[in-house]
């Protein structure tokens, strides 16, 4: 059943990501991105990371995407116009991306061929209790630094959004 669930949600994730890349309207892109994030949350559960899956749903597909939708609404963003100014990215971009994907797939298959396969239920250390324990003992300093980062981000976003036009 592992493989069936993995294939289903991996296909949904890739299809939604492609849809995000191809849609003309930012709202359609945003909704496709929500699809990617939700299917990634399912894959996190399959990998035994329950807390990260919940955080993915709440933080990413909840908070961050709502922020995106709000900005799209505020700016009244319509379908994008294609321009010819992209330059080298249009000629070199696609072949280079294919090379990137092929090379990374080659490295991954070579490096991980001897590793044991993922089995659902084999790793149970991803609940909120275990993550919280590590977060507040070994990773206490990074955690506190992140809270300062969030505070600075809030102040910066407030300052930028409130700035009067000269």
């Amino acid at each position: 059943m592992d493989l069936v669930l993995f294939l289903t949600f991996a296909l949904i994730a890739v299809a939604c990501a492609l849809n995000m890349a191809l849609q003309r309207h930012p709202v359609s892109s945003a909704l496709s991105l929500v699809g990617v994030m939700v299917s990634l949350a399912v894959l996190y559960v399959l990998l035994g990371a329950e807390f990260i899956a919940a955080a993915q749903l709440v933080v990413y597909s909840g908070a961050i995407m709502v922020l995106f939708i709000f900005v799209i609404m505020l700016l009244n963003a319509g379908a994008e116009k294609m321009t010819k100014k992209a330059g080298t990215a249009h000629f070199l971009g696609f072949p280079l991306l294919v090379i990137l994907l092929a090379f990374s797939a080659w490295v991954i298959t070579n490096a991980t061929s001897a590793m044991k396969p993922v089995k659902f239920g084999a790793f149970t250390g991803g609940g909120p209790r275990e993550v919280g324990w590590e977060l507040f003992t070994r990773y206490l300093l990074p955690f506190e630094v992140t809270s300062i980062l969030i505070l600075i981000a809030i102040a910066g976003a407030y300052r930028l959004a409130n700035k009067e036009m000269e």
Binding site: A17, A49, I52, I72, A153
Partner: protein, 114 residues
Amino acid sequence: MSLYDLFPPEFFKLSVPLSAYLILSAILFTIGVATFLFRRNVITVFMAIELMLNAVNLTFVAFSNHFGKVDGQIFSFFVMVVAAAEAAVGLAIILMVFRTSASLQIDDFDTLKN
């Protein structure tokens, strides 16, 4: 006609290799880079960055599963927090740029050029 009739019973007992998760992550990252390069709407470009961060998170969680340690998940938690901060500040910057240039096309944001 159910799903069980379509495949032999051994198919449902197969486990997923670790490389499948990593290759999925590579595919999502590449789609993110492609969106970043080819799209001209600044909000879509920003969403592509979020997609790339998500792909990297999947790698962290997959290796956390493989090594049986929770540290990779802690790291992906930090990536999420940084992504939230980045989205807040970045979208505020987009709002401000839109106020001055009244456009969302990244080609129009060239006041610092030359």
